[in-house]
Amino acid sequence: MIIVKLKPFEEILSMLEGHQRILIVGCDGCSGIYEVGGLRQAEILKEQLELARELKKSEKISVKTVTVPRQCDNDIVAKKLRREVAEQEAILSLGCGVGVQTIAEVYEDKPVFPGLNTMFIGMENKSQGKLFERCQACDDCILAETGGICLIARCAKGLLNGPCGGQVNGKCEVGGYTRDCAWVLIWKRLKQRGRLDLFTKFRHFRVNRQHPPRELELPISVTKSQGGKS
């Protein structure tokens, strides 16, 4: 899941300064699932914005809310938002950075503002009540060699040959020795599996690095199903 968090209200308020008719677009995908950017949050934000403008006795504001199944699909964004967008002069997206850009790309003539900060690709752990970063989409997965623990996402230095000298009792120097050293976790797991040979393998400088912006062909079946309806 793409993990997001709401921007500080003051920041949102200042971004929207000078705009009267605002459309808040929620997203039922990742941000909606974690109740950061679904329709309910859009409605709460609407009330807060109206109240803030009223208190500051500044310009009037007219806020509408809407949500889409996912903002990261330009087809959905084009079909589901056209009418609402036409009525408003600015858009506040409660989707991730991809959602914001999808809306901005589809509705080039309207200013689109991000209501969220996009954080990471994460895993949910209910018992700890937390979301944890687990993948950095490096396009070259070696989890098979590291006991299923990602050294790119979970080692602060992303070292292919760790641990570094910054681990103390299995904790990392980054974050004040509170977070696990990924390389010590890898060592423990590979040891448990009797595969320390994988641990001692020397990993070379990464080659064939793909540079952003990356792209990928959509599977034909998906292209057909989406395109067929339009």
């Binding site: 040959n161 000298g165 040891k191 393998k201 400088f205």
Partner: protein, 306 residues
């Protein structure tokens, strides 16, 4: 150990299996190296080579390459140019290494480097394009094969020996040892350890790395004052100063200024002379003395353990 070629005095001594001492100098946030040059006079004739730190603790300090060159030229002591992967991508590391070759540097200590988050420019972008093992590998490619990472030839390749760091008291120790195995595979030619106070820790570590057949210099950190010791003890995780040593230094702290330094020296000599004497009985190749700002102790320490 690579038998064929020897490019540095340090490697010559290591190959001759003579117990060696190396020192450490730390350029800071300055353009003036006068003080360090002055301090390094204490080291001359007592250490075979001297490390020059590269932004230790992720502090933004004077370039270790510039300092290595100037200090080597001004003091006549051979330098061990410390190079961290934190701040430079593969292109910049390579470029600096060619520069070091052109400036007559003969030893490089290949380090990953502390994360910027722990230093004085915490928002600097952490690079780590290579890690210490990969940097070691690249250096050996440059020196032995005269090529870069992609096999492109270097005109007049540099001549270095490459060392790596290790933490003898890493906890857990096994991943540290296995990492050293990797660095040795990548081409490391000598090891310098982080600070050790307990000779038993040094012995245990030496036993563990014995199978790699690589010279190991055990690191020590003489404590100039109680203040330094206390700071080190409290702020550098995993670097606890033995409580009885801390206590001895504390007692010196309140003595009259005139005799205080002499007493500090006595406490240090009392601890480190037996340590080094004992170390000489082990397979250790030498002792890396990190007496930054406390260079005056080095001659007495070396003399007393001859």
């Amino acid at each position: 150990m690579r038998p064929e070629k020897t490019y540095s005095e340090l490697m010559r001594e290591l190959k001759a299996r003579r117990f060696v001492f190396t020192g450490e100098l730390e350029p800071e946030k300055t353009t003036d190296l006068t003080e360090i040059i002055e301090a390094s006079k204490f080291l001359k004739g007592y250490v075979v080579a001297c490390n020059v730190t590269d932004g230790p603790g992720a502090y933004a300090y004077l370039s270790s390459l510039a300092a290595s060159y100037i200090l080597q030229r001004e003091t006549g002591i051979e330098m061990v140019y410390q190079l961290v992967c934190r701040d430079r991508n593969a292109i910049a590391l390579f470029a600096d290494l060619l520069g070091a070759g052109a400036l007559g540097i003969r030893n490089v200590l290949a380090l990953t480097g502390d994360h910027p988050a722990v230093g004085d420019t915490p928002d600097a972008k952490p690079v780590f394009d290579l890690d210490s093992a990969q940097l070691t590998y690249m250096i050996r490619k440059m020196v032995d094969e005269g090529v870069d990472l992609y096999g492109n030839p270097i005109h007049n390749p540099p001549k270095f020996h490459v060392g790596v760091a290790a933490n003898a008291k890493a906890d857990p120790l096994e991943p540290e040892i296995l990492k050293i195995e990797r660095k040795v595979k990548a081409g490391a030619e000598f090891i310098q350890t982080q600070t050790v106070f307990d000779i038993e820790v040094a012995k245990q570590f030496l036993r563990e790395v014995n199978r790699f057949n690589i010279p190991v210099l055990i690191g020590i950190f003489p404590l100039k004052s109680y203040g330094v010791a206390d700071f080190f003890d409290k702020n550098i995780p995993g670097a606890a100063v033995p409580p009885e040593l801390l206590e001895k230094l504390k007692r010196v702290k309140d003595l009259d200024k005139k005799i205080r330094n002499q007493k500090y020296d006595e406490v240090n000599l009392e601890v480190f002379i037996p340590f080094i004497k004992e170390l000489k009985k082990t397979p250790a190749a030498g002792c890396h003395i990190m007496a930054v700002g406390y260079e005056r102790l080095v001659p007495r320490l070396v003399e007393a353990t001859k």
